[in-house]
Subunit: 163 residues, 2 copies
DNA sequence: TTCTAAATGATAATGATTTTCATTGACATT
DNA sequence: AATGTCAATGAAAATCATTATCATTTAGAA
């Protein structure tokens, strides 16, 4: 556990953690034209492990345990940055906080449970094709889309519906 | 050179909507089990005319011109109420304020031109069916969806393509 | 007309996210 | 290795959409 004593020139002591590919994280950051900072590397590390769809707050709290020197503004800023560079994909549901995931190489859409927040990823080639057809029909050059399905998952459904 | 004239953005191509009279507004309100107030009637009037996809703020401002006695809390409250009763459909995208429209008898999705802001409404039964199939596959009870297509419309396309 | 719960408007509160700004730090260049 | 510069950071304040609070008003039943 890294403990940083306040008021002291604290050198970051790296805890020995899984040998995640730190070099490729750095490469990603450089590709965005940004400077490599330990905060950014830590953020990428945190995102590449654990729950896939995480909120900025959750990510901040997760980081805060081992790296309390990282402010939430930095987390938000970097997430936004990565989203703009398509390295991260932002999923927004209803009025809930946005969730982020490292952009998967394979495209997918989301099925969201409005009750417990569970997110299921799916991919449907037929839907993709139909979207292209629609765009073509209206003479649009399709550049992107958002498809989010909302509903209640199996568990929430069977749990009855009070509250 | 594409030139974006400000007043020209966000034009909409509308699917035809039937005009609604005050009596049916009152009927709608009673159907929800709510009291008929002049505020609510005015809100419905404002929604049934003009731009189809409006934010709560825009709606409030529009109403404010002729009915400055209507507070925005009332607008928000009633919109939420109507949304819960499915009389109004809420469209949320990105981190932008939610947009509302009187629930169209004919369901539709949107095709957005990212260059001039034009919105084309479309409806595709096959896509709807596939969505239901996806939900069923994962044992979700589908309650709603957001399908937004993004691209460049015919005009913007032929107009050349720099920003 | 009277009564009462529902509705309203003004305002404060909330929660997520963004901005500000003084300080720190990355990194290209000596 | 030391330096200079400007991007990056953290803390705090600000913002923005939305919701809650609460004293007052009003719809509509009695």
């Amino acid at each position: 556990m890294t403990r940083l004593v306040k008021g002291q020139q604290n050198k970051e002591v790296l805890i020995e953690r899984e040998p995640i590919d730190i070099e490729s994280f750095k490469k990603m950051i450089r590709q965005m034209g940004l400077k490599v900072t330990k905060q950014r590397v830590h953020i990428l590390e945190a995102m590449s492990s654990g729950r896939a769809h995480i909120t900025a707050q959750e990510l901040f709290e997760k980081l805060n345990k081992n790296h309390p020197e990282i402010g939430f503004a930095t987390v938000y800023r970097f997430l936004k940055n990565m989203t703009e560079h398509s390295l991260v994909t932002e999923v927004r549901m209803g009025g809930f906080p946005a969730r982020y995931e490292l952009t998967p190489n394979q495209h997918h859409d989301h099925l969201n449970c409005t009750q417990c927040g569970k997110i299921v990823e799916f991919e449907n080639e037929s839907i993709e094709e139909l979207q292209l057809a629609v765009a073509k029909k209206f003479n649009f050059k399709l550049t992107g889309h958002v498809l989010e399905l909302y509903g209640q998952c199996d568990q929430c459904n069977s749990k009855g519906s009070d509250t």
